[in-house]
Symmetry: D3
Subunit: 135 residues, 6 copies
């Protein structure tokens, strides 16, 4: 159902093979998921995307689980079915409990609601937000 075939291990060129090896190493599993097998039709785009993803989602000032929650929120608002599933699964692996997920859903639905209201009424910005932003 994809617009491109998936690249399996046999058909992978050198760049794609290295990418698949990196993914297996980083995740400690033999399984390479569909996104990477499909994007690997353009091995250099796939490799650059993977490298950047590793940098961005790794440990930093924000906790890896918090990063997954932000990723999920963007994916939901953008309506990306694949990313919603893959990052909800990742968040669970990183410790998202049922309670956290319930609170996450409440925040996402609240934000969607007030986004719609602010857009509907075209509420003008308050000076103070701008001051606070620059502070």
């Amino acid at each position: 159902m994809s617009t491109l075939p998936m690249i399996n291990d046999v058909d992978a060129d050198e760049t794609a093979a290295e990418l698949f090896a990196d993914i297996r190493e980083a995740r400690q599993t033999e399984y390479v998921n569909h996104f990477w097998r499909t994007l690997a039709n353009d091995p250099s785009l796939a490799t650059e995307t993977w490298k950047r993803l590793q940098e961005v989602m790794g440990p930093g000032t924000l906790d890896p689980l918090v990063k997954e929650l932000i990723y999920m929120a963007v994916s939901i608002a953008n309506g990306c079915e694949y990313c919603i599933h893959s990052h909800t699964a990742s968040a669970r692996k990183r410790g998202m409990t049922a309670e956290m997920y319930g609170e996450f859903l409440s925040v996402v639905s609240m934000a969607s609601q007030t986004n719609a209201l602010a857009n509907s009424m075209q509420v003008p910005l308050d000076e103070c937000f701008l001051n606070s932003d620059e502070g």
Copy 2:
């Protein structure tokens, strides 16, 4: 520039006046921001939205700052200028540092990129995400 006038303290009916008092009490400031003054044209919708917002954004399993980051992510993907400004300001009040904001921007831009790629190629879901979801 709004589709509705803002309700000032003099014009507020009893429900709106109570809402404004609640907001001042909760935030410990005299200032009532434009969103609430505009939504107060429908005092019961404004009051319900405020009450629900207080419940959702208050302390829970997720940290209030994490909730603000999720709120910002949804607002950005939905393109809501007002909410982006107001919740970026709130996140700063709750402790978002420049480093955190930089990491947040990296995650949001990474997610937007892979959302576009997964949507472009219509990548089919992997069985394992579904298994992990149900587990």
Copy 3:
């Protein structure tokens, strides 16, 4: 602030001049709003769009005010500032009261909220909706 200059009456070619005359006639006002003056840089695209708009928004099985409310809802979800303002103004001209607008905002915010929830959880369709659809 537009990507194109507005076409004024003097600069209008024959097609654009006819379009402006049609708009004035249909609306019984001398004023031609910015959307049409900007789109008139491509007079044939502007004329086709105007003709189609007249057909679509005119009387039918659905009331013209109901059509404006649907138009507003789409424009809000698409985040189109210009269309939100112009169609909120049109809805008011066609009789939208403050009460109706309040109910409209409640429905739009409710829909945005459950859209986000259904997308978040990727709820599978019920058979019965499909049966009802085909019935």
Copy 4:
């Protein structure tokens, strides 16, 4: 295919059981649809959402069918497959005819088209819309 299992009648806790009873009572059918069975993983979020939905979609100044059309329009622009199906089915139950649906589709497609045009050209607002808004 959901990120959460559906709660059946046997597994429902007291809050969820009450919710399912309310839904059955309100709709006069034994069937509880997937959205509520999935959201019921967080029984209090599900119950609040249901109560609010009943208030918002009930009789008011706007006809219940008109509210369903607004709901459909938002769901389409937000790309929510589940909500498009469930609210198209609801609109039919509330009397949407084939003619009405055809007109609805024409308005939705017209709005999407002019939203894209106004966004493309970044058309600046006319003063008169603002005056009309405040009037």
Copy 5:
């Protein structure tokens, strides 16, 4: 899975039958795809949409393949699964190679990323873009 049944050749009224004949003639194939069979529930909306599509996508200053790439880009950002598939297939028929598709995906993912960044930070417009626009 559609909200409307597909109109087959036997059930087509005169307008729909003519539309199907036009499509077959234009594309030199007996096959009429699902979009048109579904939209043909409203034969006049279907016919107008088809005629407009033929005008818009035909030869002009922009190459037909370039038009398909623009169509794909809009469909991806709008998350329209059907249009992504049908226009990716059309682009291939019009000569899109694997290299072109790889570059297309890189541009789409780059744009999505900077769109998210510009929206996140609410970057103010530079005067020079406006001057260049009017030039």
Copy 6:
């Protein structure tokens, strides 16, 4: 009006100063636009984004003007005001004529319309698109 101050030449750290020099060199102008001055609050994110942009938008199988049109299409559908203006200006610098822009607007508005229709009716995919995709 941004959520971050713009970094001017004096405040730029070494990484940001190098980025600004690169931009000036590549574009043969002293002017550094707001997007880069704002993103330069996180010099490494800004530098990586700039480098990737140069690679993606440079000459390839697709013409640089075609790439700008794709970029514009995505930015319009995502409602990013800044990117719409900056990439419409870039497209003009790369040779977009008034006729091309008119055709571009027609394609974007046509795609937006059929995206809305396909989403509204939830049209199921045709087998043949999938075969063509894999071929």
